[in-house]
Amino acid sequence: MRPPDPAPLPAVQRWGAVVWPSFFAAAVATMVFFAMFDPAELSRIAWVGVELDRKWGYTIGFFLFWICTFSSSLFTSLLLRGRG
C-alpha cells in the first residue's frame, strides 16, 4: 500500500487535522465528564455567582474541553511544521 503523501499539507487539511481530532477528543471528554458530574451540582458549588441550567453547563463544558484540546492540537501542529 502506498504511504500517505509526504508533501506539506494545504491549509484546509492542516486546519482539519487540528479541528477534527480536538473536536472528537473534546466530545469524548465531555461525555465521560458529565456522565460522572451533574452540571447543575457543579454550578451550585462553583464560586461564580451565576445560576446555570444543565444545557448551559454541557455547552460551556464542551467548549472548555474543546479550547484545551484545540490549543494542544494547534501547538503540536506548530511544532511539527517544517522549518522551511
Binding site: M1, R2, V12, Q13, M31, A35
Partner: protein
C-alpha cells in the same frame, strides 16, 4: 477517452482547497451502487424518522440531557449506566476490526456518515447541475443566468437539507414534536439554535464541500487500515494479470494476438471514483471501498463482451492464484469476542437492577452528641427508582456486621424501626437518615452498610456502604 481528457477532469479549485483538485465523480449504476443506495436510504431513513417515533407515549429515542436520562425504545439509561455506553463503544470498535479483517472498508463504503451524507449531497448536485460532463462544463463556463440558477438551486437544496439535518440532530436531545412548532414560531432557545446551526454547518461543509478530503486527510481509520488487513482480506482489486497491458483496441479485434490484456483503458473506473484514485495502481489508502469502479468496469466489460470482474472484490491470495481462507485466527478471535460481548451486553442490559442508592454523608459535622451522650451521624440516601412504576423501598442496616465486633453492631437507625419510603417512577428521592450509637461504643470510625430493598420485589435489593464516625477516645 485519453489520459489527457482524464486529467482535464481534475480542475484546480479556489483557495480553500489549494493543492486538492476538485473531483467530479461520474455517475454509474450496478450491484454495488444499488447496495449503497439501499444503505443510504436505510441509515438516513433511520436518522430522520427515529425522533418522530413514539414508544409508550414518549419519544422512542430521546437523549434527554437536561433530565440526564437517555430513552431508547423501552429502556431508560441513567448517568450511572455510562458503563454500557463504554461497552457499546468497545463492541463498535471490535466490529470494525472484525468486518475490516473479513471484507475491508465496508464501513467507509456503506455506513460512515461522511460517505452516506456525501452521497446524498452528490445526488442533489446531479439534480441541479447535471451529470459529470455538464458539471465540469458548468464550472469552466463564465457566469451566466443559467449558471447562477443551477448553482443557486444546488446551494439552496444543500442548505435546506443541512438545516433539516441539524434540526433532526437537536430533535434527538429535545422532544422533536415540540421543537418543530417552536422553530416555526421562531422561539428556539439559544442552546437549540446554536446546535441546529452548528450541526447543519458541519453537514453542509463535510458532505457538500470537503467530501473525500475528510476521508483522505482527517480520518484516522484510513491510516491504520493496513494493520487490520491481511492477504485474506477482501479488497477491491484490479486484476493486473488479466488486464495488462492495457490499451485501446478496435471492437472485435483479436487483442490477445496484439499482446493486449482485457483492460481497454476507458478510464471509467477513474472517473467514477469519489476519491479520484486509479484502482489499477493497486490498493491505496484513499480507497473507501464504495465499489463504483467495479460497477463501472463490469458495465464496460458487458459492452465489449468480455467476462465481468476485471475489477472485483478479491483477496491478495486469490489474485496470486492461491486459495483464500475466510476462517483464520484473527477472524475467529474477533468473532468470538464480538459474540461474547454482544450476548453479555444484551443480558446485562435486560437484567439491570432498577434501583441505585448513593449515600452522602452530612458534610458539616463528622458526628453529633445527643442529649443522652449517644453519637449520631447524619446521611442523605439518594434512592433512584429506575423502574417505570412507583415503588416502595425499605431501608435497613446490614446486621451481619455484628460478627465483626460488638461495637459496630451498636449502630442503629435513629428511629429504631426500618424506614419505608415511596419513590415515583424514574425519580430520585433524597431521604435524610440518622444513625445512632449509644455513648462509648464507637471510637474513631466504623463501617456501616445500608440495605435498600423494594417492598414488593424481593430481587430488587441494593447495598450501599458508608462510614460512621465517633469521638476518637
Amino acid at each position: 477517452m485519453t489520459k489527457l481528457a482524464n486529467e482535464a477532469a481534475v480542475v484546480a479549485d479556489g483557495d480553500l482547497y489549494r493543492a486538492a483538485p476538485k473531483i467530479y465523480p461520474r455517475e454509474t449504476d450496478g450491484r454495488f451502487q444499488r447496495l449503497r443506495k439501499a444503505a443510504v436510504i436505510v441509515l438516513l431513513g433511520l436518522y430522520y424518522v427515529m425522533p418522530w417515533m413514539t414508544w409508550n407515549g414518549r419519544q422512542a429515542v430521546l437523549f434527554d440531557l437536561p433530565a440526564r436520562k437517555f430513552y431508547i425504545l423501552g429502556l431508560t439509561f441513567w448517568p450511572q449506566d455510562f458503563f454500557y455506553l463504554s461497552w457499546l463503544l468497545i463492541l463498535a470498535g471490535l466490529s470494525l476490526f472484525f468486518f475490516t479483517a473479513v471484507a475491508g472498508r465496508l464501513w467507509c463504503g456503506y455506513a460512515c456518515p461522511q460517505t452516506v451524507w456525501t452521497e446524498v449531497f452528490l445526488w442533489m448536485e446531479r439534480w441541479t447541475e447535471g451529470d459529470r460532463a455538464r458539471r465540469m462544463k458548468l464550472d469552466a463556463a463564465p457566469w451566466s443566468a443559467e449558471k447562477v440558477a443551477r448553482k443557486g438551486g444546488k446551494h439552496l437544496l444543500w442548505i435546506v437539507f443541512a438545516l433539516w439535518t441539524g434540526f433532526t440532530f437537536v430533535g434527538f436531545f429535545t422532544p422533536i414534536r415540540e421543537l418543530g412548532p417552536r422553530v416555526l414560531a421562531l422561539s428556539l432557545g439559544p442552546w437549540e439554535t446554536f446546535w441546529t446551526l452548528f450541526y447543519s454547518f458541519a453537514t453542509w461543509g463535510n458532505a457538500g464541500h470537503l467530501r473525500e478530503q475528510v476521508c483522505k486527510y482527517m480520518c484516522p481509520y484510513a491510516r491504520f487500515q493496513g494493520a487490520m488487513f491481511d492477504p485474506n482480506t477482501l479488497i477491491i482489486a484490479y486484476d493486473t494479470a488479466r488486464g495488462e497491458p492495457r490499451g485501446s483496441r478496435r471492437k472485435g479485434s483479436d487483442y490477445k494476438a496484439a499482446g493486449l490484456g482485457d483492460c481497454i483503458d476507458c478510464t471509467f473506473c477513474v472517473q467514477v471514483c469519489p476519491t479520484g484514485i486509479d484502482i489499477r495502481d493497486g490498493l491505496q489508502y484513499e480507497c473507501i471501498a464504495c465499489g463504483a469502479c467495479i460497477d463501472a468496469c463490469d458495465a464496460v466489460m458487458d459492452k465489449v463482451a468480455y467476462p465481468r470482474g476485471l475489477i472485483r472484490y478479491a483477496t491478495e491470495e486469490s489474485l496470486a492464484g492461491r486459495p483464500s481462507h475466510l476462517l483464520r485466527p484473527r477472524v475467529i478471535i474477533y468473532g468470538l469476542l464480538l459474540a461474547a460481548g454482544f450476548v453479555g451486553f444484551g443480558w446485562s442490559v435486560t437484567h439491570r437492577l432498577p434501583l441505585i442508592v448513593d449515600v452522602v454523608r452530612d458534610r458539616n459535622a463528622l458526628y453529633r452528641v445527643a442529649g443522652d451522650g449517644a453519637i449520631e451521624n447524619a446521611y442523605t440516601l439518594k434512592i433512584m427508582n429506575k423502574a417505570d412504576a412507583v415503588r416502595s423501598f425499605r431501608v435497613t442496616l446490614e446486621e451481619e456486621l455484628e460478627e465483626e465486633g460488638e461495637d459496630e453492631a451498636s449502630v442503629k437507625l435513629a428511629g429504631g424501626a426500618p424506614l419505608e419510603v415511596t419513590v415515583q417512577a424514574g425519580e430520585v428521592l433524597a431521604v435524610p437518615v440518622t444513625l445512632r450509637a449509644p455513648a462509648g461504643h464507637i471510637h474513631g470510625r466504623a463501617d456501616v452498610e445500608f440495605i435498600v430493598e423494594a417492598v414488593d420485589e424481593p430481587g430488587v435489593h441494593y447495598e450501599a456502604e458508608s462510614r460512621f464516625f465517633g469521638p476518637s477516645s
